[in-house]
Point group: D2
Chain length 290, copies 4
């Protein structure tokens, strides 16, 4: 078991009274447990926490007055070793827990029907199970350029398959769509992780359901899956934006810092003066609405 400190700061210039919804707070699960956390807003502003209807994700809602605004989330979380079972079989749809069938269907960014022909051609005859999902991830890694600015918030799995360039979010969407086309349940997972190279940023990866469990896959290979702290779970990026706001605001800084914790440590401050200024983050931030 390992533990990580998270110190995530997001700053905005708020132009008019705006309602923010953040997905920053880490949920507990059988794979991870939050052992300490604090949420701070500057200036101090009341917020409430809620979950989505399916209960997967923790959202914070804050009604923010005009001016600068910062939300900061500190947490220390213990991770179970990741599940890696290369022999995990695919589960026949007839035996799949019913509520997971949604994860083999299309979603906004994962147009299963549009890439079905390619998926079957390329991966339809491979040995099934964990290794097939691995093969899909590897193919995506080898055939798609990781390239900041090559995609937009509207880019979908089909677009990325055609243009062969994207960021972590796009890699995840493509893997998910390919898995679903082969009837393997797959979902979108956002995560905190240490990037090898600055600036710090949120990450997006994939979970595929094999052998009656969800298994993590990172087709970008940017981080070892043992270092991924799961943040949001959804059908695709539409379900788990890091921040949505209704009003008018400008993001000024996005800095999700992560550090491996030593035994007994909790809630360590990680922000430094010069940490990650990000103006147009690859993270799925929603648009402004009056």
């Amino acid at each position: 078991m390992t533990a990580f400190h998270i110190d995530c700061e997001m700053s905005y210039d708020v132009v008019q009274q705006s309602l923010f919804v953040f997905n920053l707070a880490i949920p507990n699960s059988s794979q991870q447990r939050v052992i300490a956390e604090t949420i701070t807003t500057t200036p101090a502003t009341a917020y409430d926490e809620f979950r989505d209807e399916a209960g997967h994700n923790r959202f914070l809602r804050v009604d923010v007055a005009p001016g600068p605004f910062t939300v900061r989330y500190l947490a220390t979380v213990e991770l179970q070793p990741p599940l890696i079972d290369v022999d995990a079989p695919e589960v026949p749809l007839a035996r799949l827990p019913g509520e997971l069938l949604i994860y083999v269907r299309p979603s906004r960014y994962c147009e299963v029907e549009a890439i079905y022909g390619f998926a079957v051609r390329k991966f339809g005859n491979l040995p099934t199970g964990y290794r097939r999902v691995q093969a899909i991830c590897q193919w995506v890694k080898e055939n798609v350029d990781y390239q900041t600015g090559s995609s937009t918030v509207n880019s979908s799995a089909r677009d990325v398959l055609a243009n062969r360039a994207g960021v972590c979010r796009d890699f995840a969407h493509l893997v998910i769509a390919l898995c679903r086309a082969l009837n393997v349940p797959a979902r979108f997972v956002t995560a905190y992780t240490r990037y090898e190279t600055p600036p710090p940023d949120f990450h997006a990866v994939v979970e595929a359901y094999l052998g009656d469990r969800w298994h993590l896959f990172d087709p970008t290979e940017l981080a070892p899956i043992s270092d991924l702290v799961r943040l949001g779970i959804g059908r695709d990026a539409l379900d788990v934006p890091f921040a949505t706001y209704f009003g008018s605001a400008q993001m000024r800084r996005l800095s999700p810092m992560v550090l491996q914790a030593k035994p007994g440590e909790t809630l360590m401050t990680l922000q430094t003066e010069d940490a990650g200024i990000v103006l147009s983050p690859s993270a799925p931030v929603s648009g402004v609405r009056a």
Copy 2:
């Protein structure tokens, strides 16, 4: 309080072993209560029932052998009088139950951001609340042609707004997208209802959240809302297809018959020899996948 009999039959020619998922069975809620129901498959085939993750909808899963296959759902359901409160106000997003915020965001068929400019221009300055949603429904009714065959399963709110033609599903998507653009939570509801004119078919309508309750709206005005038996609830049609199948099959017949029940009656047979043959239903039936 009124009651309705439902007798819904769906028939297929199944080409190869196929897994079907049906959304035919009526859920209970504060507005409606199933007092009797039966589900029959011919040939007799085991099925299981499950709910989606959010718990709204009842799905039946059946693994069907090649050959003809019919599922038939009989139910008698009591309806509360519909909630019609023309003074129901809009709920500020800051006070909305958090899990409902998803219903002001875009979804696959309701591209809020693509029709935002139109929504604000046309309806942004109207008196808010129930009457504004009414005005949206009325505008859609007056400005969109109800025209079978004018749209496809890929048609979205934006498409319908541009082409001004569609069926009940398209009317619902457009109203939903317009409501959401104005920060009014809105969701997609499929329903059993008596159509004035044959053939019998499923219906699709809208619920908008006003004054702390969901209110039904039918922009097609094809049926009085007091006669709508809610079947499926979702962000849009993607969430609540009447039938999805994995395999290979051909729909032969779709016949959802509805009759007002007399006191004390339960489970009345309504199918007749010549009831509704529908080959390409407007209902959101998913595609075949091997």
Copy 3:
């Protein structure tokens, strides 16, 4: 030099007075020469012939009264041996005849920018020139299923690249988009040809500009390029529909028959009783407009 007889018949049930525009008549060029032709309408209806602004294509315009309507085109055409020069080099854009630059730009069905990443990754490092276009054609042939019904009139190069299935028109669009992404001018060519297997249909292929000449390529490999009688030339299928109509009509029959001619023969009748009934042709027929 070889010669071919064409006997092409198109029949409609015309519902209301409709204006038809046909692209059935073969243009002369340095590669082919029409030595005899007749155009017959039944019932006999006046038509006029015109060319597009660029002068490539021959269009027939007929204003048709309600009822059955047939147009029949007979021709005998001599073909030069096709240009096959595997050493033909790519022409630098700076030296290309200026009016051909349009053929390296995007068009409606060939979204160059959407498949640019893939094109460069897959074919960017290959030896340039004729052999590179050959490699593209071969890759498309090997990686896209020729499958009637797998695409629609809206399917574009990007769609086909993602779904890996299509018909001749889609194969051509994909090859064209890939060529253009690599700065090789490429255009869409419709053709009469003998299909190995019935039903008879129009064909769609590609011309790429190499070594100061247009070279024919057929990525479907359905016909030897020596047997292709060029009919229409355009940026993509949008420019050269076989038939467009303004009004209301239903196509009943499409039967473009082709036979190699013996020396001295002209205008041979090829239609037979049972030749190709085609109700939803893969050919780019435009929609009805009132």
Copy 4:
């Protein structure tokens, strides 16, 4: 008859050897005559001029070395008074010059079929002819916000109809699509004009074919049509980008200055120190391609 001086400068930082194609030079026609012009490149670089296949537009091609690059076009042009004939009738398609039929068909940015339902509903029953096109322009002016940044180079007529916001190019595309849906030939025209308010920019307007002539319409009403110097003519913006380049470059300045000329004047310098820096012009500039 009036005359205008044009002084148009476009500046780039060229990163690697890049081929530029400019559409800056004004063509002669029955409505306008260039009486003097000069084209200057800095550093001095050879260029050639060519026309598109249909012969409408003048394009300049320049192969540019890395470093700063400026092209400057000076011209003096005499304009005939614009044709305004409110009684000009629509021309039946059966009598239209055949080569103009392309202007009632869809094109990349004008998806006629997607907005057909709206067009017929809204304008189908109006008196036909010039006044109907006027009514379309007026409706677009009143129902679409002119808003820089509200659209992208991918925005089409359908998008603008749904979102009700755009710039001159979008206004033009929407008017064109609506005209075509009603069988009125319409085309896209770029123009030099004096904007009332800085910064200087190219303009985009519409020509509709009525009473056997092309008539200018400016749905933005940003400039009197008597002051529009026609630059490029095409099916839509795809055909007439002000600048396309193949290589890598960054636009630094776009400054198309226009001044009414006094009798006898030619080639007046209009650029000033502080004239229009434009980094992301609304003009249809094509993307970079390696």
